[in-house]
């Protein structure tokens, strides 16, 4: 089972957009069983696939909707409030993925307040437990049997939740715009990759898929120069394919968009061609193409 983490501690570089694209690529195009996990308390990734609701206790926070399988009349569901999220793994709550409009794609959504709470732990022994928790969850036999690929979106942070993602992942992808501050953000993620690689044994390495240039504007020197410079310095760790700045990516991300996904566009659509190239390159860079 591949566990692909999309990370960069700089916001706005396109993590969520790309995580969504990967989740759809593997499920719709490659027909794999995909679990999407939203580890960002902002819950944007979750919102792409299910209708998140405002938290009544914190209007800025988001909570998952009632689970479609929740039955308040069922005695088994008596102790459950009907909502499930990835945050449940930190609190010992039941964790039930939500189905989505895509047949073989399920999502474990975020739960803003609970995740902020998990992020706020400060005692060493508790932090270690948080770091390990996602890894423990994703190695459960039930889970490994049911999914081929897990795509995890993360917050722009290097806090305990992101670290728990890095600890659990088999592969990490670092999207970045080709500008100074986001590239500085890649350095932070490379450092996490390094630290995690040092502590893993050889049977379970953390593969760096690479840095993916996003929102690329070919007309600008700065984007071209930074990309070339990065590619020269780290040829193996910068993807050859790039995602150019196109309004269509913003359009498909908006609620009620028609069509709702870049993969629903015609095969000759330049954005779709570009995205499929990127996804193919990412897939090729996964260490073993082992699914299931």
């Amino acid at each position: 089972m591949k566990i692909i983490a999309v990370v960069n501690n700089k916001g706005g570089v396109g993590k969520t957009t790309i995580a969504r694209i990967l989740a759809e690529y593997f499920s719709k195009i490659r027909n794999k069983r995909v679990l999407a996990i939203d580890m960002d308390s902002q819950a944007n990734f979750s919102n792409r696939f299910i209708k998140m609701e405002a938290d009544e206790y914190d209007r800025e926070g988001k909570v998952p909707p009632l689970h479609p399988y929740y039955d308040p009349a069922d005695p088994e569901d008596k102790e459950w409030d009907g909502r499930s999220s990835i945050a449940g793994i930190f609190f010992g709550d039941p964790v039930y993925p939500y189905p989505t409009a895509i047949n073989n794609l399920e999502i474990l959504p975020a739960y803003s307040t609970k995740m902020l709470l998990a992020e706020a732990v400060s005692r060493d022994e508790v932090i270690e437990k948080v770091y390990d928790q996602l890894h423990k969850f994703l190695t459960l036999p039930d889970l490994k049997e049911n999914y081929d690929v897990v795509i995890i979106d993360t917050a722009p942070s290097k806090g305990p939740l992101t670290r728990s993602v890095v600890r659990a992942a088999t592969d990490i992808l670092i999207p970045s715009t080709m500008e100074p501050t986001p590239i500085e953000g890649t350095q932070g993620m490379m450092h996490l990759w390094k630290t995690e690689s040092l502590r893993r044994d050889s049977s379970n390495p953390l593969n760096l898929i690479g840095i993916l240039a996003n929102a690329f504007d070919k007309r600008t020197s700065i984007h071209k120069d930074f990309y070339e410079d990065l590619k020269t310095r780290m040829p193996q760790h910068v993807l050859d394919s790039i995602i150019t700045r196109r309004i269509v990516y913003t359009e498909v991300d908006s609620e009620g968009a028609t069509p709702p996904s870049i993969f629903d566009y015609s095969d000759s659509n330049p954005a779709k061609i570009e995205i499929i190239n990127v996804c193919k390159e990412i897939e090729a860079r996964l260490v073993e193409k082992v699914y299931g």
Partner: protein
């Protein structure tokens, strides 16, 4: 206006490069964790065993009076470490490798046992890949050889395993040499020669080592250096495991005496006559033909039919032979 150009800052570039190099060179080297002490077991293939076992030191169950004498001594030797671990824990992680559902010791047996005695539930471990046999034996050698309480027999066992593992790793080479041993062990050639003698020791010497009669490398080297088996055995029989300095002195005296005798024998022997030297094989052949033509020697001509007159060696041998024949058939007949 000049064309704009941009590049990544040097600091970031260095940071990125450093991360890549570190992963490339060192991944997996920092696999440390606090492990439940009950998951760890000794490596039965490590020849160095404290007689103390995990069972002797079960948490909360150490009763000194019940231990056998040798174990009591070992436990007493372990006490400072046990006290230290009680106060500050184990400071340096022990090394283990995964073996089934447990973890086996590569190094750190004393820290592990002392932790058990100190009733620690967790111990810091560095989880390594299972070393190949040669690397495992080498790591064990490094750990063991520093310990003064290791007997020569235990050193022998460890070294033998190390040599065997080395030979298994290099099947196409002849057996390990002194020079190779010196490189592996990081010792001088002199010292590695002693270790080499240890590996090659015959069964009688090994028996003496196992019984503790030969307990250091210098004594071993001196005894193994005695060429005569009877003399060697006589010395071994008289060993009682006490200080070897006196015995080494005696052996050296025996060796010196033998050497002096040999020299004396060589000095008294003046029986050989030098008939001069020839460089030209043709001249040698001519002289030989004159000799073999003697009436009493001509019958032996066929014996020399195949002599290669271009080889100084063969010519020398032919002359030795004919001198013997002359002595027998010409001189003694008179």
């Amino acid at each position: 206006m000049a064309k704009k150009s941009f590049s990544i800052s040097q600091t970031i570039a260095e940071g990125l490069s450093n991360s890549i190099k570190t992963v490339s060179n060192h991944k997996g080297e920092l696999n440390y964790e606090m492990m439940s002490i009950h998951l760890i077991e000794a490596d039965p293939e490590n020849p160095r065993k404290l007689n103390l076992s995990k069972e002797d030191l079960q948490i909360g169950a150490v009763n000194l009076a019940l231990l056998a004498e040798d174990k009591k001594k070992q436990f007493e030797a372990l006490m400072p470490l046990i006290d230290s671990i009680k106060k500050v824990g184990v400071r340096n992680a022990i090394e283990v490798y995964k073996y089934g559902t447990k973890y086996r010791l590569i190094s750190g047996e004393r820290r592990w046992l002392a932790s058990l005695a100190a009733e620690r539930e967790y111990i810091p471990v560095h989880i390594c890949d299972k070393p190949n046999t040669f690397d495992l034996r080498y790591l064990q050698w490094i750990e063991n050889i520093q310990r003064e309480d290791l007997s020569l027999w235990e050193k022998y066992q460890n070294l033998k395993q190390l040599a065997e593992a080395y030979n298994a790793k290099h099947p196409q080479h002849a057996e390990i040499t002194v020079k190779e041993l010196s490189q592996i062990l990081g010792t001088s050639e002199r010292q590695s020669y002693r270790y080499f003698t240890l590996i090659r020791a015959d069964s009688k010497i090994l028996q003496a080592i196992q019984m503790g009669k030969i307990n250091n490398l210098k004594l071993l080297e001196e005894i193994a250096g005695l060429k005569d088996a009877k003399t060697r055995q006589a010395f071994i029989d008289n060993l009682d495991g006490s200080s070897s300095r006196g015995i080494i002195k005696q052996i050296k005296e025996v060796k010196n005496a033998k050497a002096k005798n040999k020299l004396r024998q060589q000095g008294q022997s003046v029986t050989k006559i030098n008939l001069g030297f020839l460089e030209n094989p043709a001249t040698a052949q001519a002289v030989f033909n004159m000799l073999i033509a003697h009436e009493k020697l001509s019958q032996f001509k066929p014996l020399f039919a195949a002599v290669d007159w271009s080889s100084t060696n063969k010519i020398t041998q032919a002359f030795r032979k004919i001198f013997g024949l002359i002595e027998k058939n010409v001189v003694e007949q008179k």
